[in-house]
């Protein structure tokens, strides 16, 4: 029994599959929650990294570049274990789910900062010059001129990372988060039938990523490209 649902092992594979579907869908909810929360953390943190990386002072920009490279080059699972075991040593006690989403967010913030940076650099130079000649302070230039033009262009790329995050959520199972794959694994451990639950998880993932990728493409097509510079 898991999430209050019991599985039916006495009436063949189909009855078994139907009986565990609600459990896997509960797991799917956890997967999606973790993915969206991690995505949110990554969006915010990634922007922070992008701003620091683009700073004029090399004292700020270079160490940030090293940190980004370090995060990109080390596996999520090692970062997750690090956070999960080391944070409590410093008195920071998060539930496993939050630590997991934090790890997801940190890992993907490194990728997203590159996306933001590319988007910011793609904004026409004339826009900065115009803002300067209008005596707009640099901070306002960034928030009111550069970002509104950069963000819409990078949204498809960010969306693709959301899909990737969904596929990385199962890693959270190593710190006891019961998301979809872990739920399937638990069912398998108890019924000795791994084939049905794990195949169902694969199928659900396939549907999920196909739908999500289609939505990302749709957003890309429908998104009003606001404030694109006149040519």
């Amino acid at each position: 029994m898991l999430y209050g649902f019991t599985w039916d092992t006495g009436h063949g594979e189909l009855a078994f599959a139907i009986s565990i579907l609600p459990i896997l869908l509960m797991g799917l909810i956890t997967t999606l929650e973790a993915a969206f929360l991690g995505f949110f953390v990554a969006c915010v943190l990634g922007m922070g990294f992008a701003v620091l990386r683009g700073a004029r002072s090399r004292l700020v920009a270079w160490p940030t570049a090293v940190v980004i490279e370090f995060i990109r080059d080390t596996p999520l699972i090692a970062q997750l274990f690090f956070l999960y075991y080391v944070l409590p040593d410093y008195g920071i006690l998060f539930p496993a789910f939050l630590t997991g989403t934090l790890a997801l967010g940190i890992q993907y913030s490194a990728y997203m900062s590159e996306v933001y940076r590319a988007g910011i650099q793609a904004v026409d130079r004339g826009q900065r010059e115009a803002a300067k000649s209008l005596d707009l302070p640099p901070a306002r230039t960034f928030t009111h001129v550069i970002l509104p033009q950069a963000i819409p262009r990078v949204i498809p790329a960010l969306g693709n990372y959301l899909v990737s995050i969904m596929k990385d959520v199962p890693v959270l199972s190593v710190v006891t988060v019961i998301e979809m794959l872990n739920a399937a694994k638990i069912i398998g451990d108890q019924t000795f039938d791994y084939l049905v639950p794990l195949s169902m998880v694969g199928g659900i993932y396939l549907i999920l990523t196909i739908v999500a990728s289609a939505l990302v493409r749709l957003v890309d097509v429908k998104l009003p490209k606001r404030g694109i510079s006149l040519r």
Partner: protein
């Protein structure tokens, strides 16, 4: 415990990680070219197989694939009366390679498609067979274009090997977990592990850079 005491067990784990990375890169490259070229095939069966393979392995999580091969495949084999129990090492290499190959296949396909159409027209005008066109015209120009993406995939392959620790393989992540269980010194152990992964990634990206430089000359002088 002094940190240097952890070095030996971690180094042994790192060696396993390196082996897994190299194996999955080797077999992943084979899959990439086989299915990437397969997706461009005129034969609809080959094309269909390649598309299904790429979609399935890109559309599901690597960990799901790994668990499926390790836990579910033996049961599937049991049902049709074949012994499909894979040793963990084999399951790990197969899952990593197939996953990497699916991402690589899209890179290969994209690069071959990006070769200028006039190259293909010229090959046809010179009466090249399609195999000759692929081997002598398309690939020498396409492979240099694939290298930046392959570098990223190689780093990804290194990072993904950390998941094999979940099917009882004693890689770097597994070694770290064992040390932590034994000495409870998680800060030191995991800092070292992260640094070791970082070091391996830097060496790997340098190696890929060298490979990139050596294949760039295939592009020839005509650009």
């Amino acid at each position: 415990m002094h940190w240097s005491n952890y070095l030996e067990p971690l180094a042994r784990g790192a060696w396993v990680t390196i082996q897994f990375t190299l194996y999955s890169m080797f077999f992943g490259a084979i899959c990439s070219f086989a299915f990437g070229i397969g997706k461009l095939s005129k034969n609809w069966i080959l094309r269909g197989i390649s598309i299904v393979y790429i979609e399935v392995f890109r559309g599901t999580s690597l960990l799901v694939q790994l668990f499926w091969l390790f836990f579910a495949l033996p049961i599937a084999g049991d049902m049709i009366g074949i012994d499909l129990r894979l040793p963990p090492v084999t399951a790990g290499v197969i899952a990593l390679s197939l996953n990497l190959g699916a991402y690589g296949a899209e890179v290969v396909r994209g690069a071959i498609e990006a070769v200028s159409p006039s190259q293909y027209e010229a090959a046809r005008a010179l009466n090249f067979s399609s195999l000759q066109t692929l081997w002598r015209i398309a690939l020498p120009q396409a492979i240099p274009e694939m290298m930046p993406s392959f570098s990223n995939l190689a780093i990804g392959a290194l990072k993904d090997t950390s998941l094999v620790s979940l099917i009882t393989l004693t890689d770097l992540t597994f070694a770290a977990e064992q040390l932590r269980n034994f000495y409870q010194d998680s800060a030191t152990v995991y800092t070292m592990v992260l640094l070791m992964y970082f070091g391996m990634a830097l060496v790997l990206s340098m190696a890929m850079r060298l490979l990139e430089l050596s294949v760039t000359r295939w592009r020839g002088t005509v650009r």
